[in-house]
């Protein structure tokens, strides 16, 4: 279960965050949200596709880690096999929230840090402290705050990216059929990718508009990232082989 509360130094003074990797710590993720500003790092290792939020129906880009629910093929022996871990995973168990504050009589929205206190990474015993013994944020918490800030702007930009793609009809549903070395077949549905035929026919002014926002680069990086499916397959085949052997 999750229990999300506003982080504060009084109540959460003694909390520590376990920054190790492992399925028991919630890293057994099939995929995670990503955003164009992160695509350069993500596409080097993971396939980037698009997926729908089940609560809103909105599409968002994701980095894919496996072929089925709770399968993260990059997670082996409590070790994440790649150097870059997407920010939406790294930030756990923290979330960004909005709070209305009054300053000089004027109300405005401020971003604040929330924490899921029931997350398996949270304890009073293991990991990084959040607050310094005599007050003030720990360097770790400062780092988290920076990460959440980047994530916040990245996801906002990502929404606009997706809206542009939809307006230009550049996304299409696809079904991923994979066959493992042992003959087993997997079919993945519910994912979307760039419609390359549409992209090729896009008029110059639409291309220029995409380029201006940096989205043309993001589109090509998402397309190129698909070759990482092969890495995923390889990891899966190894896993199956190990299990059989």
């Amino acid at each position: 279960m999750t229990q999300i509360v506003l982080l504060n130094s009084a109540e959460h003074q003694h909390l520590k965050i376990n920054t190790d990797r492992g399925a028991a710590l919630g890293d057994n993720l099939w995929f995670t949200p990503t955003f164009p500003l992160e695509f350069r790092s993500v596409q080097a290792q993971y396939p980037i596709f698009f997926h729908k939020d089940q609560q809103t129906g909105k599409l968002y880009p994701v980095a894919l880690f496996g072929f089925t629910h709770q399968e993260n093929l990059f997670l082996q022996h409590n070790n994440w096999q790649h150097s870059y871990i997407p920010l939406s995973v790294l930030r756990l168990p923290f979330l960004i929230g909005q709070q209305t504050v009054r300053e000089d009589g004027v109300e405005h929205q401020q971003r604040v840090i929330h924490i899921d206190v029931d997350h398996p990474r949270v304890s009073k015993e293991h990991g990084e402290a959040l607050f310094l013994p005599f007050g003030g944020n720990s360097p770790y918490l400062e780092q988290v705050a920076g990460m959440l800030e980047t994530l916040h702007f990245g996801l906002q930009d990502s929404q606009q990216f997706v809206e542009q793609l939809l307006a230009l009809e550049l996304l299409e549903a696809f079904t991923l059929d994979v066959q493992l070395d042992d003959g087993a077949k997997h079919q993945m549905i519910g994912f979307y990718t760039i419609n390359e035929d549409r992209l090729k026919q896009l008029p110059a002014d639409s291309l220029a508009a995409l380029h201006q926002r940096g989205y043309l680069q993001a589109i090509y990086m998402a397309m190129a990232s698909q070759s990482n499916i092969r890495n995923l397959l390889q990891l899966k085949n190894q896993l199956v082989q190990q299990a059989a052997g």
Binding site: T56, G57, Y192
Partner: protein, 528 residues
């Protein structure tokens, strides 16, 4: 004679006029929703400010999804603008009637929009028949029976516009629907709107309509005229003198009382089906929109007085809305002349909608027939006047086939009833009132389940599955001889199990109608 058909004049707004204008414009004047630089057709729609639209057609078939998509309206916009909700079929209550033999079985059944599971591979009827006392037919072969009882939606917020998990049409506010169509069709598809009254009709020598005269816009000429003028049928009926063929001897209902009732509390669930509850001399429709319910009593005036009909409607309302609301409700009286024109197309004039025919809304066939006629006209639009008569005669033939099927299919609901509380029901079962082809079919179905072979033409409105849902929902007995092959029995069992599993999964995964509509209001449906 060889001049191309370019100039199309539609007389009458309302859903029929605007759907026709929209389909024609989308097909011939636009590409992927974008109006061409030089549209092929000039389409004008003349709507009289003097004539109010009837606007009680508030239930559609699933075909409306494709129609709206073709016209290029976003489903999110449509749902929110037209106070629409999802309709997954019709639920018939108290139609069968209680007898000594069936008094412990519920007197209600569903005619759902989804076909029976595995319909392409296997007709499940023969395999269900031995279990008819354990499970309702619609429940055994279709997920919508249980899911609609729970008031669940046919799709999720992540399901793209016009796509579905379970097949659906709509319940909608007819007035707002016409307004949305008008806005879209004039704004995006270049249809010219003329708000004026048609005062005279001018003919060519060959009897074709040359032009219609209007009060303020002068004479409006056209190559093809489409009569969407409603019951008056001013072009096809009044001017071209195409006679009405009455069907009152088959379907007696000729009167209706309609009322709109706000929900007693705002957040009550929205029903997933049209409810049709049989009365002593007719039936009551009940359509749930997000904002209100549209309810009406359809009855035969030769069997029931208006005041008695009103009384029955008030007592229906009392059950759900309380006595005070029921007694103060004001009813709108409508007359129905059940029947259709002998032709829908004569000379250069085709009638669509009530101008071509009208029947009680028992299976909500009115808009479906509008869509069929408009779609067929649009697909087969004659290139010139010389070939128009060929297309017209084809369309007239299909038009009459559709009407015959609608009439027989509606009649089926009455013929199967075992109610005996009024002469009305006895009269319905009187063989002189039953079309001969329906009598034959009923004879046949005593020994075999309805199949595609029972339907003589293609592009049908009611497939064999609809007959199965109604027959077995009404408790009709088919006596099969011999037993089914074991391999097919295994296949059937597999399909029955698959249906049960899907129901279990979807019960967890689907929102109720109101929750889904709320999410749509917040986020919109995805376009892909």
């Amino acid at each position: 004679m060889n001049n191309p058909i370019r100039n199309i004049v539609i007389v009458g707004g309302g859903a029929a006029g605007w759907i026709t204008a929209g389909l024609l414009a989308a097909e011939h004047n636009a590409d992927q929703g974008v109006l061409a630089a030089n549209p092929k057709l000039t389409i004008s729609l003349i709507e009289s400010p003097d004539v109010p639209i009837i606007g009680v057609g508030e239930g559609t078939w699933p075909s409306m999804r494709l129609t709206l998509q073709k016209i290029g309206i976003s489903e999110t916009e449509f749902l929110l603008c037209c106070e629409a909700s999802f309709k997954q079929g019709s639920k018939f209550i108290n139609w069968r009637g209680q007898t000594a033999a069936n008094h412990n079985l519920a007197d209600s059944y569903l005619h759902p929009f989804s076909l029976p599971i595995g319909q392409q591979e296997l007709n499940l009827c023969p395999f269900w028949l031995p279990h008819q006392h354990e499970i309702a037919f619609a429940d055994a072969v279709c997920q919508q029976f249980q899911l609609t009882e729970l008031g669940l939606a046919p799709k999720q917020i992540s399901t793209a516009e016009y796509s579905f998990i379970n097949n659906y049409g709509y319940h909608l506010n007819a007035g707002k629907f016409s307004q949305l169509l008008q806005k879209h069709v004039t704004g995006k598809l270049g249809v010219r709107y003329i708000a004026d009254h048609v005062s005279a009709i001018h003919s060519q020598q060959n009897g074709d309509i040359k032009s219609v005269a209007t009060r303020e816009h002068g004479e409006i000429a056209g190559d093809l005229f489409i009569d969407c003028s409603g019951l008056r049928s001013i072009l096809l009926g009044e001017h071209l003198q195409v006679p009405m063929i009455s069907q009152q001897q088959v379907l007696f209902n000729d009167s209706a009382l309609a009322v709109q009732m706000p929900y007693p509390i705002a957040e009550v669930p929205i029903a997933s089906c049209t409810h049709s509850t049989a009365q002593s001399c007719g039936w009551i429709w009940d359509i749930g929109l997000p904002t209100r319910r549209g309810i009406g009593h359809v009855y035969s005036s030769s069997h029931l007085s208006d005041s008695a009909a009103e009384q029955q409607l008030r007592s229906y309302l009392t059950a759900d809305f309380g006595e005070a609301a029921a007694n103060s409700a004001e009813f709108r009286k409508l007359s129905i002349a059940p029947g259709h024109r002998a032709l829908c197309w004569k000379n250069n004039c085709i009638a669509i909608g009530m101008a071509a025919g009208f029947i009680e809304p028992l299976e909500a066939s009115a808009l479906a027939l509008v869509e069929w006629t408009a779609k067929t006209l649009s697909n087969q639009l004659p290139a010139n006047r010389a070939v128009m008569d060929i297309i017209a005669s084809r369309l007239n033939k299909a038009f009459l086939q559709h009407w015959q099927q609608i009439i027989e299919f509606l009649k089926l609901h009455y013929v199967l009833s075992q109610r005996s509380d009024h002469d009305y029901w006895h009269d319905h079962r009187e063989s002189s009132s039953i079309p001969a082809t329906l009598q034959d079919a009923l004879q046949l179905w005593r020994y075999q389940a309805p199949s595609a072979f029972d339907i003589s033409h293609s592009d049908v409105l009611f497939p064999a599955a609809s007959y199965q849902y109604v027959l077995y929902g009404m408790g009709f007995q088919t006596q099969l001889s011999g037993s089914q092959k074991p391999s097919l029995q295994r296949k059937a069992q597999q399909l029955f199990n698959e249906n049960i599993q899907r129901i279990q999964t979807l019960k967890q995964a689907l929102d109720d109608n109101r929750s889904l509509l709320q999410k749509i209001r917040l986020h919109g449906l995805p376009t892909i």
